[in-house]
Amino acid sequence: MESEGKIKDNPDPDKDNSQSNKNLVSSDPETISNQGETVQEKPVPEPSDDNSELVNLLLHFWQKIYTNVILRLIIRKILLTILIITLLIFIFSWFIYIIPYLQETGKGNKHQTINKTELKNDPAYKKQMSQLAKDEQKLFRKFVAYTPGQSYLVINTTDNRFSLYRNKKLMREGFCSTGSYTRLTNAEGSRHWIFKTPKGRFWIQEKITSPLWVRPDWSFVEEGLPIPPKNDESRYEYGVLGDYAMSLGDGYLIHGTIYKRFLGMPVTHGCVRLNDDDLEAIYNTLNIGSKVYIF
């Protein structure tokens, strides 16, 4: 038996909500039943003329919520959901962010450095420091010696730019074109080629004026043409490589181009293309044996 003033739980809340709401509003708000549970309620402060308008408005709003079971239920569920979501976010953050952060903040035994004059006057210390200075100088000289004093060329395949150095000073820089990173497969699928410019250290192996292009097999495959026999006349093309070419070995050349609008873009089959002025300057600066660094 429910005591007087308590409202018996409605087994089907959707069915008779209006009735229960009426009861709630009209009944003594000290005790309100909610889904089979009896809850002891505190009295709700009522709006009065002594309070300001805003306070009264808030109190009125609060009273409305307080006395409406459905609204209270909804708010309760929303709060519970927010709490669960917050908890889940906290657990997730704990493993993903908080622990890694804590790993970097803990205290450790920081090794203290000293600067004692007594130690500095010690002959053993002086000897060791002098040895260390000598070793460092030796390594420094060895390292610096790696940079050639003569002319060398640096090619940046990502940005398609070149830099020409002479006596360790930048002489000229500009755009070039390098490998397109295209993987070409012939129609039968039996052969493939990757058009990329090799990276690393190379040197000029040959300098050629008015170079002749001997078209390789891929050049025909790429255009859907039948591959002619070696030394066939159709393989020889004059003028497409510009006025000069420098060989880096393995068929890779630094040469000119008739496709100047593509300079600065990765469009070649592995060779390095330059415009006419740059090509001439580089040709005249680099000698056979000059280093070319490609990255």
């Binding site: 993903i96 450095t113 500095k120 460092e136 070409l184 043409l225 660094y293 990255f295």
Partner: protein, 262 residues
């Protein structure tokens, strides 16, 4: 009805308690790993007194010695890289620069805008850390938001009627550039592009970072299942311009070498 509700509550509280216990266990085990890493560095690279060279042990704590020894180690590492004849990266964190080198020749220099180094490097003995960086690190794995080699597949035409001349390559710089180099000694180098105000880049970085953290967490969970201390990877995190970060990533070979100086 009441029993069901009590049962749900019991399950809920038990689950909560178990999660709490696991969170504490994970935290304790994870916080132990940096200390063990410091101990390992000190043990493997620490100063060893040999009878042949009766040098004063105090010297390894001397600031002048440490400074000079550090510089020597950097040159030593760079000479070793130069001898390898490969494309290598030298990180000079003291002047915030990253230098690509081929056979000792600096071919590209990039400015680093932000640096964050694991506390492990500051907590371990200076001498040990210097000895650790005296040999270049070798990249074992890398994880990135861009491809190392942007290879495009092209099928050759069957005849000239199918042939279409190449269209201009897409040179728009839209892909974000964030990557991690995992070294053979467990140290990780994080290279992030500077994002500026670009929301797309910020989101890409957030997702990349989240993915890395999640994979670390999953890996650590597996270790915990085997009752092992979670792995801790000392890290160096740097930020630089997108173009520079891209050049370095594309230039460095799969198992490239990196030397560090700070």
């Amino acid at each position: 009805m009441k029993n069901k509700s009590t049962f749900i509550k019991t399950v809920f509280y038990s689950l909560g308690f178990l999660i709490l216990i696991f969170m504490i266990y994970y935290a304790v085990m994870s916080l132990l790993s940096p200390s063990s890493q410091i101990a390992n560095i000190n043990r493997d690279y620490g100063y060893k007194i040999s009878e042949s060279s009766k040098s004063d042990e105090r010297i390894i704590s001397d600031s002048a010695f440490i400074s000079m020894n550090r510089e020597k180690s950097f040159y030593q590492a760079r000479v070793l890289m130069a001898e390898s004849d490969s494309i290598c990266l030298a990180l000079n964190l003291s002047d915030s620069s990253a230098i690509l080198e081929i056979n000792g020749v600096a071919v590209h220099k990039a400015k680093i805008s932000e640096i964050a180094i694991s506390k492990v490097f500051q907590k371990a003995d200076e001498y040990s850390v210097t000895a650790l960086v005296a040999t270049p690190f070798t990249v074992e794995n890398d994880y990135s938001t861009l491809r190392k080699e942007p290879v495009m597949i092209k099928m050759a035409p069957k005849d000239t009627s199918e042939y279409k001349p190449d269209i201009l390559p897409d040179t728009t710089n839209s892909e974000s550039v964030n990557y991690i180099f995992e070294m053979t000694n467990g140290i990780r180098l994080y290279v992030y592009q500077t994002t500026g105000e670009n929301k797309g880049d910020k989101l890409a970085l957030f997702m990349f970072d989240l993915n890395d953290r999640l994979s670390n967490f999953v890996h650590n969970l597996k270790r915990l299942m085997d009752f092992k201390v979670p792995e801790y990877h000392p890290s160096i995190k740097i930020r630089m311009a997108k173009a520079d970060a891209k050049i370095i990533y594309r230039a460095l070979p799969k198992h490239g070498m990196i030397s560090v100086f700070w």
